[in-house]
């Protein structure tokens, strides 16, 4: 196992990784921007290096400073968490060049699955169902209109280097396509510096289902069950749970097995998530692969008892997971809620500020992934995630009741700070959600007031 691991991230996931490293006796190095001076991870890590100013492009995305910090602290491996450099094939390659282990899939795999269109070609070839689409960049509005014929409307225009739901535009009918094409292209250029876009059938009403996999260097791939993340706003997940409500066990099992085969076929290594749309007809369509630990990994940990970060480290250090498929027994139900510093009443405007009083839930079968402390400033520079609250119970109904109880304990106050806690409680109480009949449309349109 590694002697020293550098965590190239911030917030709750940096703390999450440090926790498991400590438990494994691994020395940790935290890197931080000057906006995160007072983050607990700076004190909890064995060493901390300030790598840049608040803007991520000059700190958490600035590879030279991260790698230099690794060199100066004698780190042997870098855990990228999620976001930032976590799926950056170039960064993974720079790590290799520096003789550092990048804790994630190899650069080739990141590059292949990072190109959304190529990824779909590969996944389809690997036997996973994908939505009809061009799966290659479209050079002009005219070409788009031609291609559309073979796809059928509605159509979504997506950025090739896209992700997080940005750089997308929807055309409900042919007449809207040219404008949607232009819009997506501009967004793609602006957001990803890569204006290439492709076309895909747009599924209006669907569930978001994903399969957690774990792969070793030698084709050992196993799954840890499926999650439902259908409660989303602007493609940002708000509530995640496992098992997938209403999905028969055998259907879920088949989905997981097919995903494992595909993951093996594409040479997937490390922890990853294969995302699917489950449409009204009950059909699954693979839409992308997240080549990293997911924000929502705790629900999987709660029903399996597997520490996914520990397994990431096992794979990175030894080439093999510390567990086999036989060790993975799914038990009970788990739900996670993301507590964000956002004001639902003002279009989920982030509400940075200093936390005056902070109470997070505790008690039976309740897990909190935190990083904010009383008196700490919630920075305006990064995502507004204050904490993740997860609960386990023998069944979904008890888990929902438990989460309601847990949310009722959350108190985060400070000048200007609002949180999504009330909004989440409202969603939990929504009949569609309680019945597990909700789609990705629920949170978009939900108004607690």
């Amino acid at each position: 196992m590694f002697g020293t691991v550098l965590i190239a991230n911030r917030g709750e996931i940096a703390l999450r990784v440090v926790r498991t490293c400590k438990e494994m006796g691994i020395r940790t190095v935290a890197v931080y921007s000057s906006a995160d001076e007072d983050s607990p991870v700076v004190r909890m890590a064995d060493e901390a290096v300030r790598i840049g100013p608040p803007p991520a492009k000059r700190s958490y995305l600035y590879a030279p400073a991260i790698l230099q910090a690794a060199r100066l602290t004698g780190a042997e491996a870098i855990h990228p968490g999620y976001g930032f450099v976590s799926e950056d094939a170039d960064f993974a390659e720079m790590c290799q060049a520096e003789g550092l282990t990048f804790i994630g899939p190899p650069p080739e795999v990141l590059a292949m699955l990072g190109d959304k269109a190529e990824a779909l070609r590969v996944l389809s070839a690997a036997g996973l169902p994908v939505l009809p689409g061009t799966h290659r960049p479209i050079a002009s509005a005219g070409e788009a209109v031609e291609a559309a014929a073979g796809i059928g409307f509605p159509i979504i225009v997506k950025a090739l280097s896209g992700g997080g739901g940005r750089g997308m535009a929807i055309a409900m009918r042919p007449s809207e396509l040219p404008e949607a094409y232009a819009r997506a292209r501009n967004a793609a250029r602006a957001v990803f510096g890569d204006e290439r876009v492709y076309l895909e059938r747009y599924v209006e009403s669907a569930r978001h289902v994903e399969v957690q996999v774990l792969g070793g260097l030698h084709g050992q791939v196993l799954h840890l069950g499926a999650r439902d993340c259908s409660v989303q706003r602007r493609r940002q997940k708000l509530i995640e749970e496992t098992p997938v409500p209403g999905l028969p066990g055998d259907v879920a099992a088949r989905l997981c097995e097919r995903t494992v085969e595909a993951a093996r076929a594409v040479g997937y290594v490390g922890a990853g998530t294969f995302e699917f749309l489950l449409d009204d007809a009950g059909e699954f369509h693979c839409i992308e692969v997240n080549c990293r630990i997911q924000v929502e990994h705790p629900v999987t940990e709660l029903v399996t008892g597997v520490d996914l970060v520990r397994e990431q480290l096992n794979v990175a250090a030894t080439g093999a997971p510390g567990i086999t498929q036989a060790d993975v027994r799914l038990s009970g139900a788990a739900i996670e809620c993301r507590i964000n510093a956002e004001d639902p009443a003002r279009g989920f405007l982030p509400t940075p500020g200093t936390v005056e009083s902070l109470t997070l839930p505790a008690g039976p079968f309740t897990r909190v992934d935190d990083h904010v402390r009383q008196g700490m400033r919630v920075s305006p520079f990064y995502d507004p995630l204050l904490a993740k609250v997860s609960v386990w119970a023998p069944d979904r109904e008890q888990a929902l009741a438990r989460m309601e109880r847990a949310l009722s304990e959350c108190v985060v106050t400070g000048p200007g700070i609002s949180t999504t806690t009330g909004f989440l409680a409202g969603l939990l109480a929504h009949p569609l959600f309680r019945d597990g009949k909700h789609t990705t449309a629920l949170a978009e349109t939900f108004d607690p007031a």
Partner: protein, 185 residues
Amino acid sequence: MAEHGDLIEAVHRHAVGFIESIGGPIRRLKVTAGEVTLEAEWADPAALADAADRHAAAADGATSNGQGPDGVASGAALVAATVDAHGTRAAATAASVTLNGAAATLVAVIPSPTVGTFYRCPEPGAEPFVKEGDLVTPGQQVAILEAMKMMNPIHALTAGRITRILVEDAAAVEYGQALFALEES
């Protein structure tokens, strides 16, 4: 001011020591020798953002006239360094020192533009770029910072006298870490 030399040096030491001892976005520090008073003013977190960025930009592309690429004057860059010092143990600030009636003097520091290794000399065995007590001019090279095998020159952003070299030769430094304390002239 000559006869105040020692006192000034002492006050500088205390100022830097104080700044090192506290966290928090300190912005301005007042130490009065006479009726020992010590006032500290904290930075406005809002200002932090762009200031920090401006400073970073300025520090990175620091040119011989101490101007950032976006044309920020060295003074601004210094303020940026100051404000960006938010919460750091050894970071930039300014202290107005009043010694029974003597004119106030501004104490500044030269911060590290990134993570790297600090070198005082052009090459091993050579004379250091600057020594304590030296006068420096804006843009004058005062050290080398090695990062990712590249040797980056560190320049003075303002004119003044080096009062303290805060880092050992060949030591690892982090972003924003104070390298030199100088008394602006």
